[in-house]
Structures are given as C-alpha cells and as structure tokens.
Symmetry: C2
Subunit: 346 residues, 2 copies
C-alpha cells in the first residue's frame, strides 16, 4: 500500500520527548539558540537531526501571522510567453530558499491582471507579498498593491512613476552601449541598430544606448530600423538594413528574435555572422543560445535576490534597508547591467 499516508508526523513534542526537555526548549534551540545552554542545544539539535524534524510551516504561519511566501503571476494568455519567464521564476525559487520562504505562482485566464487575484492570495494568507513581472506603462498593479497595503517588488521599472515603489530592472541603454563597445573592439567599423517601433519604453531605451555608443566609440553610426517581435517581420526589416550595410559592418538589436532576423537575412545573402557581419541580441534567451547568437544576458539571479531582499525588508518594516541601491552593474562582457531606483520617500 504505497500510498498510505503515515498516521502521524514528527512534531516538536516528539523531539522534546526524545531529547528529554520541554517543547519550549526545542523551539528555543531552533529559533533562539543563544538562549539555550550549549550542551542542551547540541543534544536537541542532534535529536532534530535524528528524527528529521522540520517545524510545520502551517503552524508557524498561524503563529507568526505571516505566510513566508511570495506570490508571482504566470502569464496564461500570452501566445508567446517571455523567453526569460521560466529562468526568472527558477531564480526566484532558488533565492526564496535563502530567504526562508517559497514562491507561490498563480495564473488566470483573464486577458488583464485582476486585482482580486492578488487580494485573494493575501486574504487567504497564502502569500505576504508579490513579485511583479512584465510591468509596462499604464500597469495598474503597483497602484493597486500600494493602495491595498500589500508589499511588492517589481522586475521591470514602474513606468508611470519610476521614483515609486521598489523595482529592479536591466539597464537597457547601458546594455546596447556595451554591445557597441564590444563590436567596436572586435573591429567592426559601422554599427547599425534594429529595434522595435518607437514608443515602447524598453525599446526606446535600448536604442538610446546604441546611439550613445556609436557616438562615444570609434565607430560610424549605421542605419536604424525597426520591426515588431516576430521573426518574418524581423527578417524583412533586416533585409532593408543590410541593403545599406556591407560586410565588415555590424547590427545591434533590441532583442534576440530581432537578432535572429538579422542572422537569417545575413545567411540569406551569404554573409557569415560573426565574421562578415557582427550581430548582438538582447536578453540571453534560449533562442539566442539555440542559434549561437551573441546576446546581452540579464542577471536574473541578482535581480531575483534583490527583489526578495527588498520584499523582506518591507515585511520587516525596515523601510530604509530597501532604499538606495542605485546602481548594481554587472559589467562583464556577457552581462547587462541592473539598476534599481533611488527611493526619495518611502
């Protein structure tokens, strides 16, 4: 009967009994070891080990009035979910262990995020706070959560008011600027740009970095084009760009899919990527890896760690601990930079 559940589980009382101390002493040994005499401590800890005792998180939650969990929404409607959504969730999950908490994903089939989904999680004491992703101009969630007094931290700046809230983001401009520097160093003389249609905050930022880069480095500014995030359109836009370039030139792209478009257009005319033409993508996505593209990797582990720290500081009430951290650059060749905002007020 493999599926029969054990009738009882090891509780703090079992540990106390075996160790010959009171249950409070066991609790102290675990939560305030400095209060327990060393011999007692080591004996208790040994029994904990022997019995594989782990405090019930439910009992802890009830007592602490804190779930010890952070929620995050999974996009269940996007036809093409973000390439880095899974790596980021994995990074959060790994960081959560270090913060003695766990992640609770949730999803809905509604086209737009629902405040009620967030509120329900908190009302049921399933989570204490949230990590937001895919923020965008007009995103209602930061205001909702602030209004409701629910702590959160965001991967992606809070566009409507970047001085508000706690967030970490990749410095897109710094990234594309680095890409230009990299291409200049490698020996390319003219560097063009393929981005998204003007008007997207992320896209404009990345384009600005390219513009700055070609100015500051010893390269000529090539043509700039744009295409939406779809491979056929990226290829078409890349064709137009390549018409104005020659072998020996390079293109910085605002995304890996766009870079893939350039790669395919180049292959189509017999130019060898990485030799006849330099190409850089952005995001460090699986697509880039699959196609061997040079790309700007987002430091997801650092971002996840930062956001969870910020969330915990808020929960602990130490508002200032979460402030500052203006710039947290990860400037090695393959990494983009992270910036977090300086909070004026809290």
């Amino acid at each position: 009967m493999p599926n029969t559940r054990p009738a009882t589980r090891t509780t703090i009382m079992d540990v106390a009994r075996v160790a010959g101390v009171s249950r409070q002493t066991v609790s102290n040994a675990i939560n305030s070891p400095e209060r327990v005499r060393p011999e007692t401590l080591s004996k208790v800890l040994q029994v904990v080990e022997d019995l594989h005792y782990r405090p019930s998180s439910a009992a802890r939650t009830l007592r602490h009035q804190r779930a010890g969990a952070v929620g995050t929404e999974l996009n269940a409607v996007a036809a093409q979910p973000s390439d880095i959504a899974l790596p980021f969730l994995t990074a959060l999950t790994l960081s959560a262990t270090r913060h003695a908490c766990h992640m609770v994903p949730f999803a809905s089939k509604e086209a737009f995020p629902l405040l009620s989904g967030y509120q329900d999680m908190v009302r049921r004491r399933l989570v204490d706070a949230f990590v937001l992703t895919d923020t965008h101009p007009g995103d209602p969630r930061p205001a909702w959560l602030e209004e409701a007094g629910i702590p959160y931290a965001s991967f992606g700046r809070i566009y409507d008011d970047p001085t508000r809230g706690y967030w970490a983001d990749v410095d897109g401009a710094a990234g594309t600027k680095m890409a230009v520097a990299h291409l200049a160093e490698t020996g390319y003389r003219t560097v063009g740009f393929l981005g998204w249609p003007a008007g997207s905050a992320v896209g404009d930022d990345r384009r600005a970095g390219w513009a700055q880069g070609v100015e500051e480095h010893d390269v000529a500014a090539g043509p700039a084009g744009s295409a939406p995030q779809s491979l056929p359109e990226a290829v078409r836009a890349a064709e137009a760009l390549l018409d104005e370039l020659s072998p020996g030139d390079a293109v910085v792209c605002a995304s890996d899919v766009l870079a893939l478009g350039v790669q395919q257009a180049a292959l189509g005319r017999g130019w060898r990527p990485g030799a006849d033409i330099g190409i850089t993508g952005f995001d460090g996505s699986p697509v880039a890896q699959l196609h061997g593209l040079t790309t700007l990797t987002q430091p997801l582990n650092e971002i996840a760690e930062h956001l969870l720290t910020v969330v915990h500081d808020q929960l602990a009430g130490s508002a200032d601990a979460a402030q500052g951290t203006l710039l947290l650059p990860t400037l090695d060749a393959n990494n983009s930079t992270v910036i977090t905002p300086k909070k004026g007020t809290s």
Copy 2:
C-alpha cells in the same frame, strides 16, 4: 505609508459577529452549507462577501493536516530547460485552482534530484504530494516517493516499470504516425525521419510511430537519420538526409529543434519548407511557433488536469478513482495523444 500592513485581518469571528451567528455556523455555511438553514446561509454568505472574508489557509492546513499544495521541481541546472516547462507549470497552476490547491515550485542546484529536497517539503507540511516531470529510465524518484509513502503523479511515463505509479504521457508513436498521415494527405510521397540517437525511450517511440506510419499509409519510407538536440548537429544530419531526398518529399522529426535543423538545411539549398519539402516537429514549443513549423502540440492542460486529479484521488484514499483511464486521445490535426497507464494493482 503605503507599506504598513493592516493591523488585523478579517477572520471567521468578524463574519460571525456581523452576521449575528456563532463562528461555527459561519464555518458550516462555508464547508457544509446543507447543514445551515437557507436564510441563515444566505445572510452569512452575504456578510462573507461584504467583508471579503477568506479562510486562512494556514489555519485550515493545521486543522486538516493537509497542505492543500502540490510541489514540483524546477530544473535549475539544465543549460537548455525544456521548452514546455513553463507552459506546463502554467497549466498546473491553472488546474490547481480548480482543485482548491496551489503549486509550490522548488529547485536546487544539484545536478541530480535529491530525495531530501522532496522529503523536506513534506516534513514542513508545505506540500502533500508532487508532480514529477522529465522522468527517464533510471529515474530514482518514483521509487523514493513510493517508499516514503508520498503521493505523486508524473508527466512522463515511469520507464523502469510503466505499470507502476500514476502518470500521463504523450503517445509519441501515435503522434509521429499522425504526422505521417498528415504529410501523406497533403501529397508528399516519400517521408523520412530525423530523430535522436537510438537508445532514448522517447526517441525510439517516436521513430517507431514513423515506421508504422509509412507502412500503413500510401507513402514510401525515406531515409532515417539522427542527431542530438543541438541545432548545428541537427542541420548537419538534415543535410545528409536531404541528399537522399528530392523536392516533394517530407521529413518527420522527433523534436522541434530537429525540425528546425531540417528547415534550415532546406532553406540552404533553396527548397521552400511546406512546398518543396514537408517538415513536422514535435512538442509545440515556442521555437516551432517562432519559425512557423508544423508541430505536434502536447495537450498540456489535459495532462495537468489529469495529474492533479490523480494526486487528489490518492490523497483522498480512493485508489480506484485514479485507475483506468487507459487512453485519452486528442486526435485533432494539431494535437498529439495522451495515454495514461492502466494500473494493475494499486
């Protein structure tokens, strides 16, 4: 002070007070509505609504001795995580809501899954059960969990003994056979195969379906090749395959990346995919979508729903409810089929 937490939350006592009944009546109204007089019931439910009351899941867990949560491991080490890992987790998360539970992801940086990771989650009462993914021959987890009496259900058959445990899987052979039928119908006359090197259970299964398909349908069997799951090697293997094929022929592939390799090799020699050469992938991954590949989509929602049902049946102790469900085919053009094993004993 947006981050100040509310001093108190709405509890069952608040509802009782406002509704003018005892707290037990509120509990009954929620959990056993048939026990409450209709007028009382509707009054209580109205107050629940007004106050946005939600029972504390921690208190419920403590009382029920059940976490109401299912754990699932995120692969934190694979260089190239599975393309469908995120869509599947999303499907699980969505299904979990229907089952009144939630998913708790966990991850470790160890190269191999650790039994202790699974056990700890259960000892802390964080989860009641697990959903396994990426099962493979020699996978120690099913035996571990059975030994430990921890319920689980697996996406991917339990290779070492498919008659054991509860799992759901895509019928790979049926899928590739469907692909052959589709290509035959479309008018291709010779159908080759590109798979993984022999010896992988999944790969061999998919190849068998192709072999069966070319036998049963009015097409000639083309050459069969293999390559590991890497684009450059897929392209190389595809080149060899195309050397033996002519325009008007087709290739069934064991994965989307392999299909992409065929697509690129075809483009390289000026063959138009979908016209001069038929290509089918497998998995319905974002890569296939990006490159416009025909692919066999896995019915992830059905699989997730099935696994969670099976897990809950186990927890409820109704062993037989989880049995049977031998074949659950989703045979439309774009879907592969799901099979779940018939349990001999439980």
